[in-house]
């Protein structure tokens, strides 16, 4: 076979792969067809990789095979993590994705410089690609570190942060512009990569845990677009398509997360987010009502509709399986149990859904905010487990609150509100929650897993 025929066969495989990618995303529209989507994605990617190994440009196989084996050896355990660790795994995979895109861009730059055939247009593409890729690498690593709690989850801020961060980003862009005029200044290129890496750190350090869903989506989008830009550099359509699809996905998710937190998208694009200026307001000791597991069990037993509001605390306490036991017990007694999922509940888009699905809670019991908010007035009990800011009524009326305007779950409209919480410490945004002081609210103090266990135990003691 001539190299030309081979190349055409490979290109044909890439076209088929692209169709596979598009179908994979199309079939992800519903849980029923989603498995088929993953399968076709796997086949498409596998075909593309195998076809590439036959590329006439590839002459040495030994090291490539070793690199593929190392990749698989790292990837398999990363694919087997617990569902509670999915957010940090995702952040890490954004870092890996961006790393490969960035270093291929770097390799292309040096090869192009060596051969003296780098056009200005290519230099712009490589420059943008390497800047976005590099900042995504360090940004994602910081995000993963925060999610894994190696780094502090609290936002780290200082005065004039936005100005400093933007100056650093501008420096990277200016260095790129110098390179467009003088591509041969390799030390300028190295400086540009370094500045972009620093900017990635500066972009994510000020972000608090509660803003992680937005940040992860944004980093996803950056990782995708850097791959698409790399496709432009390398003249590879399959990369352009896959990168653009990934970038668009991250972009849409960022927009959804922004809307769910009532932040403008420009605000996020310029990295000026996550900086809820928390004034350490000393809240006077307001009285709260608390209840025991026994009392809670009795009330749950005699109710008709219970809406559970899960949050990140559920994942931290690993209480999803206990929650399923509660769901089973109550369902058997004829109680209608539903789950209200706020778009930013947890640490990444859809985090709560995966957690509850893992515990075998049927997905038709999981409701999005807009679909269930009207049901709260009919609910006998709203049971809040590990969620905080997304239930705070202050978002509706308190103009001074940092979360004012954020769409919330109307938990306060249920006849009784129960909140399982360790203590009265405010949430990640550091805002006191009015919900806890309502007359209809009962605080159930304790670890979510332990408390749910005792409720289930009490329930089985109560005769239906």
């Amino acid at each position: 076979m001539t190299p030309e025929t081979m190349q055409q066969l490979i290109d044909l495989t890439y076209i088929i792969a692209v169709v596979g990618f598009i179908l994979a995303l199309k079939w992800l529209s519903s849980p029923a067809s989603a498995m088929r989507g993953v399968l076709i994605g796997e086949i498409a990617s596998g075909m593309a990789v195998v076809a590439t190994l036959f590329d006439p440009q590839v002459s040495h196989y030994k090291w490539i095979i070793i690199a593929l084996i190392i990749g698989a050896a790292v990837g398999i355990p990363l694919g087997m993590v617990k569902t509670t660790a999915v957010p940090q795994r995702t952040a890490l995979s954004h870092a890996f994705g961006a790393l490969s895109a960035a270093i291929i861009g770097i390799a292309e730059y040096y090869v192009g410089i060596g051969a003296h055939n780098l056009s200005r247009f290519q230099m712009v593409e490589i420059g943008l690609e390497v800047i976005i890729g590099s900042l995504t690498v360090t940004g994602s690593l910081i995000a993963a570190g925060k999610l894994q709690e190696i780094l502090p989850q609290r936002p780290i801020t200082y005065k004039g942060q936005n100005f400093v961060s933007l100056s650093v980003l501008c420096t990277a862009v200016i260095l790129m512009l110098i390179l467009v005029i003088h591509p041969e200044y390799t030390h300028v290129f190295e400086a540009m990569v370094g500045v972009a890496l620093v900017f990635g750190v500066m972009l994510v350090t000020p972000i608090g845990g509660a803003d992680m869903p937005t940040v992860i989506s944004l980093l996803n989008s950056y990782a995708g677009f850097s791959a698409a830009l790399l496709g432009l550099v390398l003249n590879s359509k399959v990369l352009v398509v896959a990168g653009a699809l990934d970038g668009a996905s991250g972009f849409i998710l960022s927009v959804i997360m922004c809307k769910a937190m009532n932040r403008s998208f420009t605000n996020v694009l310029f990295g000026a987010f996550g900086q809820l200026q928390v004034s350490a307001v000393k809240t006077e000791q307001k009285p709260v009502r608390s209840a025991s597991a026994e009392e809670a069990a009795e009330m749950l037993n005699s109710s008709q509709l219970v809406i559970v509001v899960p949050g990140y605390g559920l994942a931290v306490a690993q209480a999803q399986h206990k929650l399923r036991e509660l769901y089973d017990t109550l369902t058997k007694r004829g109680v209608d149990v539903r789950f209200a999922i706020h778009p930013v509940a947890g640490r990444m888009p859809g985090h709560m859904n995966v957690l509850l699905a893992e515990a075998d809670i049927p997905y038709e019991k999981l409701f999005e905010m807009d679909d269930i908010n009207g049901e709260f007035p009919q609910a006998d009990i709203a049971l809040v487990i590990g969620a905080n800011d997304v239930t705070n009524p202050a978002a509706r009326h308190d103009k001074g609150s940092p979360i004012y305007g954020m769409p919330i779950l109307n938990t306060d409209q249920a006849r009784t509100v129960m909140v399982i919480k360790r203590s009265m410490n405010p949430g990640f945004a550091g805002i006191d929650n009015e919900l806890y002081y309502l007359d209809k609210t009962l605080m159930l103090f304790g670890d979510a897993k332990v408390f749910l266990t005792s409720i289930v135990k009490e329930l089985s003691a109560v005769h239906a």
Partner: protein, 98 residues
Amino acid sequence: MEHVDLSLIFVFILSGFLGVELIKRVSPLLHTPLMSLTNALDAIVVVAAIIIAGRHETRLSTTLGLIAVAASFSNMVGGFIITDRMLHMFKTGKAKKQ
């Protein structure tokens, strides 16, 4: 004025719009698997990494290419495994009883 091939920019814009339309239709229920799946698909960067590593142009480009092969292939393998695992968890009430 140097010659600039804009055909790939067309591909980029069209895929971007297609992506937006496709992803809007994905159920919010599946947003986490969506992110891990797009991550796995994005790992197709591995094909570019294989070419860079396989061309053997300079020692630097080969080394960087090999690191990129390992990094992106780990995303491909890990991304598909975890997406598959998560989607297996989503069951309806009827399926659960069976």
